[in-house]
């Protein structure tokens, strides 16, 4: 996929995540009835009061701000309902109750439903379960119950509902009233009181904060643990709204709020919905980035591969020429080392010629030795030829002239073997950039091969022409990939009607040391050297058998 594709996916994922975040808030408003929405619009600011000192559930911090678990709930509700909540401060919980009763405040965020309070308050469904616990420093807490407390000194915070409830339900318990939770905890910790009763949320908050380590929970009291919001009785719609809003808060959101305040255990980060959203968005972004990197990587890999290929080819070519260079040097060394002994043998042969009578058998022996020397010399010569770095001296050359000159040089052989020559040379042949001497060498080689193939009697046909390469056709195939359709080429053909080449050997004719001649004749280097020369000219050479018998060699060069 392209860069673009990955980009689009990335953005869609991001927007989707953002959309989810938005949706939760605005989605709630959609569930409200029109009269509810109208009511909210008519009451943009709603007053509430609270217990100033019910840490960590609700309390006023040193900046005068309403803080705590309930405050976090209020913040959520404020967003969902689209209204502002305003605090009407109270010195304690009972004062707060009174304020709502007198309609100086509109609701209480944290209040336990009691029959008495129901006279002036409408309660939402309980949303905050805050169990109380009996806490003690004593060790013998097994099987404790409220009845066990009967003969004990039990500390309670003055004004808390627990106190009211205990004194009614369990009058045998000796209640010790303390002004606040902290004092109750200390009293219990030091053993001044046998136990204390308090909200688990609050007591655990303070034992952590105060580093009190010797207290344990004897048992929990489930009664009176359910807290609701209490709304003034003349605002039924608002109570409805609060219920709806409270039920829209997810379990995870609730747990997150509670855990943030109650240090029972650190909140598992992965449960935090906000964090989840962020994590998802980050993940989506990461995926997008990774995909983009992968795409970029792929194009890079391809580029690197192409570059490596090119480098490898260049390296190979370098190695080839280095090899050739060392072969060249080797060849020179070999040549020297072989030619000296050959020179000695040749001289020896010359000497022995003088020692034996002519026509004797010994003389024949010596002749054979001389032939052998010449053969060996030929091979060394061919080797030098093959490996020698060819330095061409190029100039604009008319190949017709070169052909004719070469023919002259083999005239004796042509006559000797009774070979007729048919020249089909183009009247006007464009010149090509070439080394005429080297090309002469090639033509002579081709002519000699043809003569040898034809033996006694035969016809040598020479053709020269110039044309543009067509897309299909014979000529293009013969170009060996060196030329393209549309290129203007000069083509030379040397055809004989000799024995031709065995089909399976046609491929090999240009290989060094390949020869079809009988042993002792020829080194097999002629055609390979010829091909080298043609290739140095940037041209192509091919050999094929002709239909009527014999061989055809085709040379192709590019011209302007």
């Amino acid at each position: 996929m392209s860069y673009r594709g990955y980009n689009i996916i990335l953005w869609i994922t991001i927007l989707f995540n953002v959309g989810i975040a938005f949706g939760t808030e605005s989605g709630f408003r959609a569930t409200l009835a029109p009269e509810e929405i109208a009511w909210l619009n008519a009451h943009p600011v709603i007053r509430f009061s609270s217990n100033p000192d019910f840490t960590p559930v609700e309390f006023i911090d040193d900046k005068g701000q309403y803080t705590g678990i309930a405050a976090d709930y209020l913040a959520l509700l404020s967003k969902r309902l689209g209204v502002t909540f305003e605090l009407v401060p109270a010195s304690d919980f009972y004062v707060a109750l009174q304020l709502v009763r007198e309609l100086k405040a509109d609701f209480l965020p944290v209040v336990v439903k009691t029959p008495q309070r129901a006279e002036y308050l409408n309660f939402t469904d309980p949303y905050l379960i805050l169990p109380s616990a009996v806490i003690t420093a004593r060790n013998d807490v097994e099987n404790w119950s409220l009845d066990t407390l009967s003969r004990m000194k039990v500390a309670v915070v003055h004004g808390f509902y627990t106190q009211e409830w205990l004194s009614h339900q369990y009058p045998e318990i000796e209640l010790v009233q303390t002004p606040d939770i902290q004092t109750a905890l200390l009293a219990t910790s030091f053993g001044v009181a046998d136990a204390m009763v308090g909200t688990l949320a609050t007591t655990s908050y303070f034992t952590s904060k105060m580093n009190i380590t010797n207290l344990r929970v004897a048992f929990q009291i489930q009664q009176n643990s359910e807290n609701s919001m209490g709304v003034r009785r003349d605002w039924p719609i608002f109570r409805q709204l609060l219920d709806k809003a409270l039920s829209s808060i997810s379990v995870e959101e609730k747990q997150a709020i509670t855990r943030a305040w109650i240090y029972l255990e650190p909140p598992p980060l992965w449960k935090n919905p906000k964090l989840r959203l962020i994590a998802l968005s980050v993940l989506a972004a990461l995926i997008g980035i990774i995909l983009a990197i992968l795409a970029w990587n792929r194009t890079l890999t391809r580029k690197v591969r192409l570059r490596t290929q090119a480098l490898e080819e260049a390296h190979l070519r370098l190695m080839q020429s280095a090899k050739l260079e060392s072969v060249g040097r080797l060849a020179a060394g070999v040549a020297h080392e072989v030619k000296n002994p050959l020179a000695i043998i040749q001289m020896g042969v010359d000497y022995l010629y003088g020692e034996v009578p002519k026509e004797s058998e010994a003389c024949q022996v010596i002749k054979d030795m001389e032939d052998a020397v010449q053969r060996a010399d030929g091979v060394v010569k061919g080797l030098l030829n093959f490996s020698r770095e060819k330095k061409l001296s190029m100039r604009q050359t008319d190949l017709n002239d070169v052909l004719r000159d070469s023919l002259k040089l083999v005239q004796y052989e042509l006559n000797h073997h009774n070979i007729s020559v048919e020249e089909k040379l183009a009247l006007e042949l464009p010149t090509i950039n070439a080394d005429p001497d080297k090309l002469k060498q090639v033509f002579i080689n081709l002519f000699m091969n043809a003569i040898q193939a034809m033996g006694r009697e035969g016809k040598l046909e020479l053709t020269s022409e110039c044309f543009r390469l067509r897309k299909e056709g014979d000529a293009l195939r013969l170009a060996n990939g060196k030329f393209r359709p549309g290129d203007r080429v000069v083509v030379i053909k040397v055809d004989d009607n000799g024995t031709g080449i065995e089909p399976e050997k046609v491929e090999k004719v240009f290989d060094p040391f390949f020869t079809t001649k009988p042993v002792g004749q020829g080194t097999g280097l002629g055609l390979s050297v010829s091909r080298n020369i043609i290739e140095l000219h940037g041209g192509a050479i091919n050999l094929r058998n002709r239909e009527g018998g014999g061989a055809s060699v085709v040379l192709m060069f590019k011209t302007a």
Binding site: A335, N340, A343, M347, D350, Y351, G354, K381
Partner: protein, 124 residues
Amino acid sequence: MKKKILVVDDEASLTRLIKANLERTGKYEVMTENHGSKVIETARKFKPDLIFLDVMMPDLGGDEVAAMLEEDPLLSHIKYVFLTAIVRREETEPTGSDIGGHLFLAKPVRTEELIATIEKVLGP
């Protein structure tokens, strides 16, 4: 009057044989030298008409010897022909090829080629 030929090559077998073959014709007096460094000394003593000089010799190359000959007033008139194992036979005609103004003969040479070269250089 026999012509005096000095044959210089590090291969003793070769020089021995060339000497035998040339002297057999009765036309030449031949001396051999196998050390490039001794050529000047030998040439001064022998006073040859022609020197055959091998190019690749271990102690002193033929071209260096040639340079020394040319600088020596007593020896600079002497004609010399290089013998080489490197140059291709085809590049040298049977009577020596003129490469860079000097005559080269390619090994392996035939005796008749040596003789033909001597006659070309010194006259018949």
